[in-house]
Symmetry: C2
Subunit: 333 residues, 2 copies
């Protein structure tokens, strides 16, 4: 079957509320830097009161990746649940405006669109406080077989393991993709997410439910409960056919059916906000894989997109990534 | 009576929806670059559909000025009308988080919180499409005498002339301020606003209803219907006791009871977004005047704040302006 999309991503559809914060604010709030924690509506209200002036921008890890793929010129699709409220309209508008196919039926009553209050500390690290709201209602009914079957690659966020119904949706999407001979990937999302679902993530990898796994160095170490990165990567390569590990300022490494590649990070004028860096790495890497680029070239596109992302506030590209790749001298086809 | 606030600002309470746009988009939409135009709900929906991916940030000209005054360390208050919806909560949160006193009762039913869809062209110019919504319901009942009487300076935006009830609120605020021996200023807001209300703005100046008038070079030329800036400024100085004219990259000039001062613009690394530049000039200038600084020093603070604003997306300071002034070697007291 001819494909309609390079990459389909599935995840929690979230609007980000981003504010600068001093380290002290994290202590006052009792939150651990760098993590994503789930909060209820009451805690969301408490955090918001204590937050500084913010800006709002569409987010959601997998949606950010779809935005990145589109910015590279790829054909992208997204599945995720918003509500029929102002934040839902913002989310839908932004992803549609990027040219990403997004047709998941919004939730018409009940919980509001998800929001994540993101505190950006002076070291550019981000700490996320997420109220899942409507994302709790993403179910297997939202997995459209024609979209999944028509995508060369289906990418799923580990965060989907948090809302119970989404986990079932995830497995359905993976099964459909494989039935159509497509590739399935997952991002481990964050090290606390790995701690919550370690056994299940390993099961997904070892049973071949996912073909490709994205992790950063903290996540891969958390997965194998070791502080030694080399040990973790060795285990990781045994457990999955393809994988990519982002290394912050040290770039990334990737492996695929025995082949190994590395790429360096790109210069960043001012390290501003880490939000979305991993999502954009995945965008560049997946675009490259979907377009049949060599492993190293795909890894370089990932590093370029991740480096672009950390130079500004917000989780999606501030410039056209295809143009940036051309200006940087990187291959797109 | 002792004062409680350095500056009170009154205006249309708006959340900005900001997106980059090519010049061609303005042509497609049939809008004139650089202007603020008022639109209804249907036109708002049409424009939003045609806009690129956006970010949302609290705006509103006079509210931006209050935010700037607070960033300088000034005691600021704001009066404006939001609705009890998500955008209203965003607006209220952001201005409160800056330490600005904001206690206007929100509109509990009817129109939603105002929003302005702002298209930023590659030349950093902004074109604003504003749906006033709840701002139409700002009335004289919202003018709190204890707040107006307790502010050294009351600053009103010319845009208040658009919603009919706000005009009455404006005159009430000016009368209360003068009854308490306080100073009243207005910004002419934009040249199309001047075209709509030229006679009334001149009347406010010539009758002393306002003591200080802010304009940019387009607005002051529009006010006197001349293309010659010198001619316009000469007329302007005859019609009001104090005034300030911003000159873009050429800085600003100000006059006050016979005295004249000029200041240069500050270097801007990348001219990114003109949204809010005039609002931030007013913030610096008003902070300086309220704190008793010499005219030139106040004008310099205004130019510094305006220059900071155009270097990033969004209408409010991205850094602490008091700290920036100290780093720049400018007087704050």
């Amino acid at each position: 079957m001819a494909h309609k999309f390079d990459v389909l991503t599935i995840g929690n559809a979230i609007v980000d509320i981003l504010a600068h914060a001093e380290e002290k604010v994290l202590l006052d709030l009792g939150v651990t830097k760098g993590m994503m924690r789930l909060i209820d509506a009451d805690e969301a209200a408490r955090i918001y009161t204590l937050m500084g002036p913010a800006i709002e921008a569409s987010g959601g890890s997998a949606a950010n990746t779809a935005a990145g793929v589109a910015s590279f010129g790829g054909m992208a699709a997204y599945i995720g649940k918003v509500a029929t409220d102002e934040f839902g309209r913002i989310f839908s508008h932004d992803i549609n405006a990027l040219g990403v196919h997004f047709a998941t039926a919004p939730l018409s009553s009940g919980a509001p669109t998800a929001r994540s209050m993101i505190l950006i500390t002076p070291d550019a690290e981000r700490t996320m406080n997420t109220y899942l709201g409507a994302c709790q209602q993403l179910t297997e009914d939202d997995i459209d077989e024609t979209v999944v079957g028509g995508a060369l690659h289906t990418y799923l966020e580990g965060y989907l393991w948090d809302p119970p119904a989404a986990k079932i949706a995830f497995r359905k999407a993976a099964a459909i993709a494989h039935a159509h001979g497509r590739e399935v990937s997952i991002t481990l999302s964050d090290s606390f997410c790995v701690d919550r679902y370690r056994a299940e993530f390993l099961e997904l990898m070892r049973t071949g439910t996912v073909d490709l796994v994205f992790a950063n160095k903290d996540e891969v170490r958390a997965l194998y409960e070791t502080s030694d990165l080399d040990t973790a990567v060795t285990c990781f390569r045994q457990d999955c056919r393809s994988g990519a590990v982002t290394l912050g300022g040290d770039g990334a490494l990737a492996f695929r059916e025995g082949e190994l590649a590395t790429a360096s990070a790109y210069p960043v004028e001012t390290l501003t906000d880490m939000t979305g860096a991993g999502d954009q790495f995945a965008a560049g890497f997946l675009y490259g894989i979907a377009r049949g680029l060599p492993l190293k070239a795909a890894t370089e596109l990932g590093c370029m997109a991740g480096s672009e992302c950390v130079g500004h506030i917000g989780p999606r590209p501030a410039v056209n990534l295809a143009q940036l790749a051309r200006d940087t001298g990187l291959r797109l086809s």
